[in-house]
Subunit: 202 residues, 2 copies
DNA sequence: ACTGCATGGTACTGGTTAGTAACATCACGT
DNA sequence: ACGTGATGTTACTAACCAGTACCATGCAGT
């Protein structure tokens, strides 16, 4: 079953809280946080604003919960990759690159919702900011760890290069579309990995 | 005179239109487009909403004009770099990297205002989107051109790598602050250039 | 049947926003 | 002095939005 239909079923049969989070995810990620009202979220969740406010103190905290769900799902994707390539850190990195590339290839991709939220919420005190910062830092740390275990030269720098390349691709797709340089980021990441391989001779 | 004081003086003596654009720039870039009302822009420009609407049809078109000014200023910075390093495309690239790195080092940097605007305005029909797309595409094309003239191997790929690295650094700074990988992007870009240099032997 | 609790529905408050109307004022060229 | 056009001022509309009060409903366990 596709992700979209899973979400649709979620919004029909699951608990109101889960329906609300599912609706928030679809609306916030496609139209932005400031561009969606809590009424719209409640309506798409097939409930109403009162029930929403019984589960979430405020819109800000709903946003934080929405981002926490995204972070948890990303962690689950990492776990799946780890299980699919046991003891093969380089393979895990490549699998992750392929996963992100497949996201970028989708025509409706709007980039990383966490990074987008950071752009939309400049207030440093917003409850969502700690979620964003923690998740981004953990992702980068994990990549550094994998690059080290895979035996690359200058593992931290390689990890940062891949990480920033990826963030750049996801933000650039929004500015110039997926036909721009963002569409070819997988090839670039592989080139980077090759240039950090210890044996420079063939 | 610092940029800030220049802008302050602009808002005291220049034409209302220029004052409005100067105020829009300060407010939109620091607090986001959706987070600032036209009243606030007019007030910071030491004028009022009516005058604003005599110069700009709507808030959307004010935003487009604001981004057009940013793009024009970036073009001017490129011109200055070109004049400072005549006939030295590699030096121009390095100067540009250093310029962006200095932006990133500022504690209040919020990343590229054009990319941020693309995140804040998901509507593909928004008048600002053509400004963003044209400017980003032109910047990337210019970088490809310079990489080719400088004699690097695979110039288009190197240009895209630098470009995405830079976009990634600017967006990442917003998520995790300038202490994260974004703060070291200049070193990474130089490594990339070295790895694309034709003579692999010392 | 009774009770308690989560939910649905409606209507409301108070505040904000983009955009407009109408009139007053000021500067400037003649 | 005069008139014209740009600007300042105030007040307004219509819509939107976050958040709340209040009551009805329906479903659980007992």
């Amino acid at each position: 079953m596709s992700r979209a239909s899973v979400q649709t079923r979620d919004r029909q049969s699951a608990s109101p809280r889960q329906r609300l989070l599912s609706a928030a995810r679809e609306l916030f990620s496609t139209r932005g946080i400031k561009g969606v009202s809590v009424d719209e979220v409640a309506e798409m969740a097939q409930t109403n604003k009162m029930t929403l406010y019984r589960h979430f103190e405020s819109k800000d905290l709903l946003v934080a919960a929405y981002l926490r769900e995204l972070a948890a799902e990303a962690d689950r994707e990492w776990e799946a990759i780890t299980l699919a390539h046991p003891g093969d850190p380089a393979g895990q990195i490549k699998a992750w690159i392929a996963l992100v590339a497949s996201h970028l290839a989708q025509s409706d991709d709007r980039g990383c919702p966490l990074a987008n939220a950071a752009v939309e919420l400049p207030d440093k005190e917003h409850p969502a900011r700690t979620v964003i910062e923690q998740h981004k830092t953990a992702q980068r740390d994990h990549l550094v760890h994998l690059c080290g275990k895979a035996g690359f030269e200058h593992p931290a720098q390689l990890a940062d290069e891949i990480f920033l390349l990826l963030e750049g691709a996801r933000v650039n797709v929004q500015s110039v579309g997926r036909c721009g340089p963002g569409g070819r980021f997988a090839a670039m990441a592989c080139t980077l990995m090759a240039s950090h391989t210890r044996t420079g001779t063939p």
